[in-house]
């Protein structure tokens, strides 16, 4: 399919998409980079001046940054752990034949379609509220003292909410991968005398390795940007206990109007995301050659 005509039209047809995305990437990113080198606060207009790397030094040495970095890693790591392990178990379960498994599958994937602000508020109020919440009622039912989730375990609470939202994603992808496993391969292993456990370890797990990697990488990309769940539940607090890098940048920009500092933070967030993105892009790229 390649003549000069078609090639020329192909280039023409790609132009709008490429130009738009190029602009979307380069213009704001360039501006962020530029702002990050300025002392620039919206509350003091006209006072912009060149500061070199000061914003970076300031941002990186801010104790809040260290806390935010740790929080971000805990959030991402915690959610990944819960969703990958939970998703694997759920996928294995849904792969079994049982009555109504199609319906159960619909129930399991539902949380993914709930908008972040809704799920955060529903969990925060109706489930995790220390007095009227359902969990508090359950605790009292068993004679336990109700947990004040967002006061005592703020980050863990957010991890729970986010994990609930992403569990369906991991489940669905692992289930899809599981179902693409050749039934004959499993039967062959069974003929070779492999028990259920060794079939899982030697056949199922290696087959899922790639899907698990995909889940981890894609979730990481999205989890690094978790925002609404924090905004509507804790606002980053108490203190900085639930402040992530994303949230820290948001606070600097839109609450403290520190454009320079926020931009430096933004660039650092981009660098962190890129570390993950490189692996993901490689993986997808290899798949393209097939």
């Amino acid at each position: 399919m390649a003549t000069l005509h078609t090639r020329a039209s192909a280039r023409l047809m790609m132009t709008p998409a490429v130009v738009l995305l190029l602009a979307w990437m380069i213009v704001p990113l360039g501006m962020t980079l530029y702002f990050s080198l300025l002392r620039y606060n919206l509350l003091m207009p006209g006072m912009e001046e060149w500061t070199g790397l000061d914003n970076y030094t300031y941002f990186l040495t801010d104790p809040a940054f260290t806390a935010a970095l740790v929080n971000t890693l805990l959030l991402v790591g915690g959610v990944l752990l819960i969703t990958v392990v939970g998703g694997l178990l759920l996928a294995l379960m849904l792969d079994q034949p049982f009555w109504g498994s199609g319906l159960v599958r619909l129930l399991v994937i539902a949380p993914f379609f709930v908008m972040p602000t809704v799920s955060a508020l529903v969990w925060k109020n109706m489930l995790m509220h220390p007095v009227n919440g359902l969990f508090a009622w359950l605790a009292r039912l068993f004679g336990l003292r109700p947990v004040d989730w967002f006061a005592d375990l703020p980050l863990f609470s957010i991890i729970l909410i986010v994990a609930w939202q992403w569990l369906p994603f991991a489940t669905l992808i692992l289930l899809t991968a599981l179902q693409s496993l050749d039934e004959e391969q499993k039967e062959a292993a069974e003929m070779d005398g492999a028990g259920a456990a060794s079939r899982f370890i030697y056949i199922v797990l290696p087959h899922l390795a790639r899907a698990i990697t995909v889940v981890i990488l894609i979730e990481t990309i999205f989890l690094l940007s978790v925002f609404a769940e924090i905004l509507v539940t804790t606002n980053g607090g108490p203190g900085v206990q639930t402040t992530t890098i994303t949230y820290l940048v948001y606070m600097q920009a839109l609450l403290q109007f520190d454009v320079g500092g926020a931009s430096a933070g933004g660039i650092i967030a981009v660098i962190l995301a890129n570390i993950v993105a490189i692996f993901l892009i490689r993986l997808i790229g290899r798949n393209l050659d097939r």
């Binding site: 399919m1 390649a2 003549t3 000069l4 005509h5």
Partner: protein
């Protein structure tokens, strides 16, 4: 109306040269078959003629007019693809009408031409079906119908029968030949199957590795193959090749003898050997014989031939049926 001329045409994909400097003349109304092993560049050559690919060098002329840079739609050619390439979302009627619609034909004209084509191809009952509701042979006919209505100067077929089962293939082969006799248009037909080539072609072009090995009528190629490749490719079962001392005796590097040109006897003959495998087809018997000092030969004997594996047989080539080749593989 419908003569095609290739001058020095070549094609590379990046580094890989797929067609190398090739000249060919196709007369108006001829049925020309491009035949060659898989990957030899037959489809590429056809697509160059169609205009679906640009040539890397050389010119293509249709009716004396240079069409090298003309887009496919304006070359007045029609193509039938191996996969049929029917539009799955259109009915048979829609498929056949599509080229007419693109040409801006009026409703009545479209109606009439679609009817005509459907009648010729026995598709009248199926006009309102979707391609997926048709059998392979019917789909093939729709693809041909779509080609016919355009009244092209030439038809291009790219292995149109290779997705059909054996029986249907024979029937469709006949239909296409009859169509050619009816329409009297130039047809270029690509296949890797030498039987199709032999049975359908006025003229066969044998391709190998992007080069033309020989051009000629089926019987010319059968009788006088220009080189070892053509000798081995045309004819079934394959021609037997013998080199070494036996060939030297006849002043050649290699000699070739077709299985049907071997005479068998239980008692006397030029060469002696033992039967390895015997295939009894009823109409023919194919014997795979391990010849002393020569190696394996295949012989074809008309009708039934009472022989068993392990029997000793004597083999003699018919007079004047031995092909001789030099060291470069060219016929002497």
């Amino acid at each position: 109306m419908g003569s095609i001329r290739l001058e020095n045409v070549s094609k590379s994909f990046g580094e890989a040269q797929v067609i190398s400097a090739l000249d060919l003349d196709i007369e108006d109304g001829a049925f020309v078959v491009f035949v060659g092993p898989s990957g030899c560049g037959k489809s590429t050559l056809l697509r160059l003629i169609a205009g679906l690919e640009d040539v890397s060098g050389g010119r293509i002329l249709i009716d004396g007019k240079d069409v090298t840079t003309t887009p496919p739609a304006r070359r007045r050619l029609a193509m039938v693809f191996q996969s049929y390439a029917l539009y799955p979302h259109m009915s048979v009627r829609g498929n056949i009408a599509f080229p007419l619609k693109m040409a801006g034909a009026g409703r009545e004209e479209i109606e009439r031409k679609v009817k005509d084509a459907a009648r010729i191809l026995n598709l009248e009952e199926y006009l309102d079906r979707k391609p997926r509701q048709l059998s392979g042979g019917q789909r093939q006919r729709v693809a041909i119908g779509r080609a016919i209505v355009r009244e092209p100067t030439a038809f291009l077929f790219d292995e149109p029968l290779s997705n059909l089962d054996a029986a249907l293939r024979v029937a469709m082969r006949l239909e296409i030949t009859q169509l050619h006799q009816k329409l009297k248009r130039t047809m270029i037909y690509v296949t890797h199957d030498q039987v199709e080539a032999m049975t359908m072609a006025d003229k066969i072009v044998v391709l190998n590795g992007g080069r033309i090995e020989q051009v000629g009528s089926p019987l010319e190629l059968y009788r006088n193959p220009r080189n070892l490749f053509v000798a081995g490719f045309i004819g079934s079962p394959r021609m037997n090749f013998i080199d070494g001392a036996e060939a030297k005796k006849l002043g050649a590097a290699t000699i070739g003898i077709r299985p049907e040109h071997l005479r068998l006897s239980a008692t006397e003959g030029l060469w002696k050997g033992r039967v390895d495998v015997a295939e009894h087809l009823g109409s023919d018997t194919f014997l795979h014989i391990e010849m002393d000092g020569i190696g394996p030969l295949t012989a074809r004997i008309g009708g039934e031939f009472p022989v068993r594996v392990g029997d000793t047989v004597h083999v003699t080539p018919e007079d004047g049926k031995i092909h001789r080749f030099d060291e470069k593989g060219l016929a002497l």
